[in-house]
């Protein structure tokens, strides 16, 4: 399996990358880790005539604390996220989720920017970014802008990115210390996309849920925030009845595709279970 022919470009700066993408037009694609795009190119399901490799662009790699947020460069790999003590401490759910992406070799190449910008409903980080209230920095021919993760996803592989724009960093507000969190992912095997997955971040006060955000992966053509499901657990002690209500409210907005991972009914069924498990495990982790 050999991809179609293309021209290879390796710009050294964001502005050069943006200029290239703008001038080369729609047949050009940015190349981050390449572990979604290159397999698609080998299957000839993607045939860009120009690849703009972002590996040579200075300043797109690494992460830093900025006040009460963590700013992560788009080309930071999942392996680097997993190696970061800062992430493990401040954003443990990101550590947990990154460990469930693909396999070790893929995580050495796969990037946070590629994972969130590709618009693949199977990717794990988009729903998590929505739960965490992350924003994406997009840079293009007419300058830079910030778009909330919750506003970014429009359809399968359709995002707020305009032609010529690239996602350069992700800013994630740090959740309150002692928060409960869990990413529950059902998959057929290591390396698979989720059959269904749920991300939960919550806090409790006096034995009742004070705040809760629930996100869903691969249960719709875009990642989802399950706002209604979050609402029904607030003020409860997360007893069995509350868990069931949350699962039902989340299932009401799920519209997964029927594919090799199972028929629609099955995926919604296990989607509800992921929500309940994530809520329970998040609660058990409250400090």
């Amino acid at each position: 399996m050999i991809p179609g022919s293309f021209s290879y470009h390796r710009p050294a700066s964001v502005s050069d990358a943006v200029k290239l993408l703008a001038s080369l037009g729609e047949d050009a694609r940015p190349l981050a880790g390449g572990h979604s795009l290159v397999p698609m190119m080998k299957l000839r399901l993607a045939a860009p005539t120009h690849l703009v490799d972002l590996h040579g662009v200075a300043g797109l790699r690494g992460l830093r604390r900025d006040g009460n947020a963590i700013v992560i460069g788009a080309m930071t790999t999942q392996h680097e996220l997993l190696a970061s003590d800062e992430i493990a401490k401040a954003l443990p759910i990101l550590h947990e989720t990154a460990l469930l992406i693909a396999d070790p070799q893929v995580r050495y190449r796969g990037t946070i920017g590629g994972n969130v910008a590709n618009g693949d409903p199977g990717n794990d980080l988009p729903a998590l970014m929505m739960v965490l209230g992350a924003t994406y920095r997009l840079e293009g021919p007419s300058g830079a802008r910030d778009v909330a993760a919750a506003e970014f996803y429009q359809g399968a592989y359709f995002t707020a990115l305009e032609p010529g724009e690239i996602l350069t960093s992700v800013t994630i507000p740090v959740p309150p210390s002692g928060h409960g969190y869990a990413y529950e992912k059902l998959k057929r095997k290591v390396g698979d996309y989720a059959t269904a997955a749920a991300a939960v971040v919550l806090t409790m006060a006096g034995g009742k849920v004070a705040s809760c955000t629930i996100g869903l992966t691969n249960l719709h053509e875009t990642p989802l925030l399950a706002a209604e499901a979050s609402q029904v657990v607030i003020g409860t002690a997360l007893d069995a009845a509350a868990l069931k209500q949350a699962a039902a409210a989340a299932q009401a907005i799920m519209a997964p595709a029927a594919d090799a991972r199972g028929p629609v009914e099955y995926r919604k069924h296990v989607g509800g279970i992921m929500v309940m498990r994530a809520l329970e495990r998040a609660k058990s982790r409250l400090a």
């Binding site: 399996m1 050999i2 991809p3 179609g4 022919s5 293309f6 021209s7 290879y8 390449g34 572990h35 290159v38 397999p39 190119m41 080998k42 299957l43 690849l51 490799d53 590996h55 392996h79 693909a102 396999d103 070790p104 070799q105 893929v106 050495y108 190449r109 290591v190 390396g191």
Partner: protein
């Protein structure tokens, strides 16, 4: 399509070649360099047979373009033996513990285990299994591959390998 000149270090030797941008690193290694120890299994980034070490990372060389490896430092199975030609601890482990049957996955397994042990010289069994989860073996059931890596880990640490009771 115009060809691009690439240079990189493979198993300690400077190598160069002319490649199309679409040439995959695994094809460059096997066809231009005639190093056929790196195998092509699934070609879809799943099986790990084509794993090589690239600048301190285990990568699936079927999913990296040769042009992207410009200036990099690569190790393949041909570079795994000790300098005097004797088997490295990992190679010896696979031999002593019967860590292979057909052998097709072995070069990728050894290269992946090589990086795993560099990062974590004394992994637990669970860490080994997670560490090689991107490599598929259809013969062994993994049991003896895990033992082979435990053998190498013990040998590198200078202790005698004792098999856990089953």
């Amino acid at each position: 399509m115009a060809k691009t000149h690439v240079t990189m270090k493979v198993n300690g030797a400077e190598v160069e070649g002319l490649v199309e941008p679409r040439t995959l690193l695994v094809h460059f290694i096997r066809e231009n360099l005639a190093l056929t120890g790196t195998h092509i299994g699934c070609e879809t980034t799943h099986c790990g047979a084509c794993t090589v070490d690239l600048d301190g990372m285990s990568v699936k060389s079927c999913t990296v373009f040769a042009v992207q490896a410009e200036g990099s430092d690569i190790t393949t199975i041909e570079g795994m033996a000790n300098a005097d030609g004797s088997l490295s601890a990992l190679q010896e482990g696979f031999r002593m513990m019967h860590g292979l049957q057909c052998g097709f996955c072995t070069p990728g397994m050894i290269l992946r285990a090589h990086r795993l042990l560099k990062e974590n010289p004394s992994p637990t069994e669970a860490e080994i299994r997670m560490g090689i989860s991107g490599n598929i073996c259809r013969c062994t059931g993994y049991q003896n591959i895990v033992k082979a890596i435990q053998y190498a880990s013990a040998k590198i640490s200078g202790v005698e390998y004792k098999e856990a009771a089953e």
